[in-house]
């Protein structure tokens, strides 16, 4: 092919390919393909879609009163579990990271053992262990056991994120703070952690999203979270696809909101420094 033609065709196609509309069109094409696949799949299964029956499990109106369905109640439980677990896992993570970098040999050893133990065993096993073995001994309820299992698990991963963030603060910052006579606590509180926050925010957000998704596992110890409620509804109604899709969509909304909030925070931090 002569190069002249090539050049002309580029001139014609370049603006089309690189306009924002081409992205929208590509996205719609992918979406259409997925829908078609799904349609064909369920058609061959002979699945009978009954989307109209789903709404009552989310919210319904009875005698002028709004009643939240089991899915919303499950969502509230999931939110409570995730909220507590988030706070505790970040606390465990930060403490473990600080322990691992401390001068104390025992502290480093304890942190290391915790990390390896948690990261190299399945979350489900940890959850069962806490619920069936530890909980009866310590006399804690299933909600606490679930939160504890999730916090310990995600905390181990969070600690590695915190550690990486702390290590990435320039050495000169430590030295400057030391030379001013700052105590170790003040050094971390005012100099190191504020700067590390910028580095850790994106990976920490991924970790929080993972936590929300992993929280579905607490349904195995009969906590009525979003996933558990979904399972119950399905066993009563056989609306398998509709309910699972709805549950997935609710998780998606939750994680997207979280990511967006993290983006806003990251943007603010960037504009400050």
């Amino acid at each position: 092919m002569p190069p002249v033609n090539n050049k002309r065709s580029r001139r014609i196609w370049f603006p089309v390919i690189h306009s924002p509309w081409s992205d929208v069109i590509k996205f719609l094409l992918v979406l259409a393909a997925l829908t078609w696949l799904l349609y064909r799949g369920t058609e061959s299964l002979g699945y009978n879609w009954q989307w109209h029956r789903v709404s009552r499990y989310i919210v319904s109106v009875k005698d002028g009163q709004v009643i939240f369905g089991p899915l919303i109640q499950g969502l509230l439980v999931t939110l409570r579990i995730c909220g507590w677990s988030l706070v505790f896992s970040f606390t465990f993570g930060l403490l473990t990271a600080l322990l691992r970098m401390s001068d104390s040999v025992v502290g480093r050893g304890v942190a290391r053992c915790y990390l390896e133990l948690i990261r190299n065993t399945p979350l489900l096993v940890q959850l069962f262990f806490l619920y069936f073995v530890v909980a009866p001994v310590l006399n804690i309820d299933r909600f606490t056991a679930g939160v504890l299992a999730l916090s310990l698990f995600e905390g181990a991963y969070a600690s590695e994120i915190f550690r990486a963030g702390i290590v990435s603060v320039a050495r000169g910052q430590w030295e400057a703070a030391h030379s001013l006579g700052l105590s170790t606590f003040n050094l971390y509180r005012y100099i190191i952690l504020p700067q590390a926050t910028r580095y850790v925010l994106p990976p920490l957000t991924s970790q929080a999203v993972a936590l929300i998704k992993d929280s579905a596992l607490v349904s195995t110890i009969a906590i009525y979270d979003l996933t558990m409620q979904g399972q119950v509804i399905i066993s009563e109604t056989f609306l398998t696809f509709e309910i699972w899709f709805t549950v997935a969509a609710i998780y998606l909304v939750l994680t997207v909101i979280l990511s967006t909030m993290a983006d806003i925070m990251a943007y603010r931090l960037k504009t400050i420094s």
Binding site: A170, G172, Q173, E175, A176, A177, H178, S179, L180, G181, L182, S183, N186, Y190, I191, P194, Q195, I272, S273
Partner: protein, 250 residues
């Protein structure tokens, strides 16, 4: 600056040794005694141990043997002592090391409030007068990234001075600066010297050394090769190694 009145010995360093984990010996039985209000300039080729010595003086670097005493306090494994010494010894770094997430005002206020336990108003008063002194009172609300290198280094000097240190250490404070900004930082350092601050200065600025230095220590391979008055070292060095080095830099 010759003939200025010097006080008693404020820094006493006895035969300190320091070997880095990679086997490089940075200081070999290095000793020095520095008087109150004295300005000591340390020169020498890179790798001579100049910076390591400075960093040992405020406990940023551990040493293997020997003793360092500053204003009567021994610098040893005792954490309290080390913190006490750091309060009294200010340090200015080659790369400024300002806190990038804080304004100039917050940078200078921080240690006054956390370590000297002043309230915000008292600290701010001191900070503003120090910024006046180093010539950038209008930059109090700026962030370090908005300042030139020379301005940043002057903030760093103000930050160290805010602790009212008894000794100031300068670790190649002008080496990272553009030529036209070196002067403004040296001017601040000269003012400090004239006010009677005890200063230990590692520098390649021979003009500065001549103008304000009371004494010059020429170091090589972790030891003092020769020391004496500025005149003596620059114009009439005795040792062959000193002659060679002075010949290269002048």
């Amino acid at each position: 600056m010759q003939g200025k009145e010097l006080g008693d010995y404020i820094i006493e360093v006895e035969r300190i040794r320091k070997t880095f984990p990679n086997g490089i010996q940075a200081l070999y039985d290095f000793s020095a005694r520095i008087r109150r209000s004295e300005v000591v300039v340390i020169i020498g080729p890179s790798g001579a141990g100049k910076s390591t010595f400075l960093r040992c003086l405020n406990g940023l670097e551990d040493f293997d043997s020997g003793t360092i005493t500053i204003d009567g306090i021994r610098l040893d494994d005792n954490k309290e002592n080390r913190l006490e010494i750091r309060k009294e010894v200010g340090m200015v770094f080659q790369l400024f090391n300002l806190f990038p997430h804080m304004t100039v005002l917050e940078n200078v206020n921080l240690a006054q409030m956390l370590v000297r336990k002043k309230n915000h108003d008292e600290a701010t008063k001191v900070t503003m007068s120090l910024l006046e002194k180093v010539g950038i009172p209008d930059k109090a609300q700026s962030y370090p990234s908005q300042l030139s290198g020379g301005q940043q280094q002057r903030v760093a000097i103000a930050r160290a001075l805010a602790m009212v240190p008894k000794v100031m250490l300068f670790d190649e404070a002008t080496s990272a600066l553009d030529p036209e900004m070196i002067g403004e930082v040296l001017d601040v350092m000269k003012t400090l010297a004239q006010e009677g601050m005890t200063m230990v200065v590692v520098t390649h600025e021979m003009g500065f050394a001549r103008e304000v230095g009371d004494r010059v220590i020429f170091m090589d391979e972790g030891r003092t090769v020769e020391e004496g008055s500025v005149e003596q070292i620059f114009s009439n060095p005795q040792k062959e190694r000193t002659k060679q080095f002075i010949g290269q830099i002048l």
